[in-house]
């Protein structure tokens, strides 16, 4: 996703509660989706007109749309793929409308975009739409379950990816700094996560390899890291390492950010402990 970001003006925007970021609001809304379920989170105004929706399949976000958002997916696709033109996108969109085929898969099958470019554009569009949805003047969210599955899992996103994407767009410098810390402290065998304190809870601002991390796991990790490090000042603590059923993680705090390294599998706790002791974080 490109770090420079243009949200465009949001029509009918309302101010968020003081200090609350759209990422915290999005996290709360995504919690309303049935865990691992499929359906749509729908946002309507008081007059029942549609503001937008978030489509979810098997607990993963497929895409979000906000009628108030001036940024279009086709623009983002063209930005992400140098060889793609607006005319080509329009032609494929028209065909998909006729055949009810998914747009992303059709673009891929025709070789018009690479999977990486499509992934970036979809995530970018979803994050921008979510930001607008969280600011939109509206009535209430409702969850409408369905049983159809038509999206390739390769083109869907975990809540962690979406929330990190939103954080990156809101404050690219902060996210880049956190990502640099993760790269410096992690290894290819570990997954890593940076969580920033925000009004209403912690939100992920950077990750390495956490594309599959579900919202429920993210919440548990965030809560555990906060609990463990809450006593840090009393005992002059630097680092916490914890072993749960099938997951071990290490956590430490730095500049109001919690950094977390995750490890799974046999001897995960021992491997992680050896790694963090060698890091010698102060």
């Amino acid at each position: 996703m490109s770090p420079a970001h243009d949200y465009g003006a949001c029509r009918n925007a309302r101010p968020l509660p003081e200090g609350e970021s759209t990422v915290v609001a999005a996290k709360r809304v995504l919690e309303r989706a049935e865990a691992g379920g499929s359906g749509a989170l729908v946002l309507q105004r008081k007059d029942s007109s549609l503001v937008g929706a978030i489509l979810v399949e098997r607990g993963r976000v497929c895409w979000a749309v906000c009628n108030d958002c001036p940024r279009r997916l086709s623009d983002m696709l063209v930005e992400e793929s140098s060889s793609l033109t607006h005319a080509q996108v329009s032609e494929v969109v028209a065909e998909c409308r006729r055949t009810h085929a998914p747009l992303g898969e059709t673009l891929l099958s025709r070789g018009l975009v690479t999977q990486e470019a499509l992934h970036r554009a979809l995530l970018h569009h979803t994050c921008v739409s979510l930001d607008h949805l969280m600011r939109a003047e509206s009535s209430a969210w409702t969850w409408a379950p369905h049983t159809q599955h038509s999206y390739s899992p390769m083109l869907t996103f975990s809540a962690t990816e979406v929330l990190v994407g939103m954080s990156q767009q809101l404050d690219p410098e902060r996210s880049a700094k956190a990502a640099a810390v993760l790269r410096a402290t992690s290894t290819p065998k570990l997954r890593a996560l940076a969580l920033q304190r925000a009004a209403g809870g912690r939100v992920p601002i950077a990750h390495l390899g956490c594309e599959q991390l579900e919202l429920s796991a993210l919440i548990v990790i965030s809560r555990q890291a906060d609990e463990l490090l809450s006593v840090a000042s009393i005992a002059d603590l630097r680092m916490a390492v914890l072993e749960m059923d099938d997951l071990s993680f290490a956590a430490w705090g730095q500049d109001a950010v919690r950094y977390v390294l995750l490890c799974e599998g046999k001897l995960a706790f021992n491997r992680l402990l050896a790694h963090v002791v060698a890091l010698n974080i102060s």
Partner: protein, 107 residues
């Protein structure tokens, strides 16, 4: 097993306690260090053990100490808490706490 035996068996140990993981209450404790960080840390760690996720093992590292919480079994209500001086054989201390906690459970 008495806490004095736990302190004998775990290398570099300075304090040990049994904690009720439902409430975070220290049920029994023994400390052989005058360092206030050890006793404060013991109580602080006890207070955070009553989390929803019931971790099997938790290790907190400071520059000078390591705080080890070991649940003898996933169903255990009591958690063994040991504070050790942070030394080169950190892994040995952690392993010893696990062995002691498991022995208590099976006794």
């Amino acid at each position: 097993m008495k806490l004095s035996d736990v302190l004998e068996r775990v290398p570099d140990s300075l304090a040990a306690a049994w904690v009720d993981a439902r409430t975070g209450e220290l049920l029994e404790s023994r400390c052989i260090s005058a360092d206030p960080h050890v006793s404060f840390g013991l109580e602080a760690m006890a207070s955070i053990l009553c989390s929803q996720e019931r971790p099997h093992r938790t290790v907190l590292l400071s520059a000078t100490h390591v705080f080890i919480a070991q649940r003898p079994s996933p169903e255990s209500i009591q958690v063994l808490l040991v504070v050790c001086a942070r030394a080169a054989n950190l892994g040995f201390s952690i392993s010893a706490v696990r062995t002691v906690a498991t022995a208590v459970e099976s006794a």
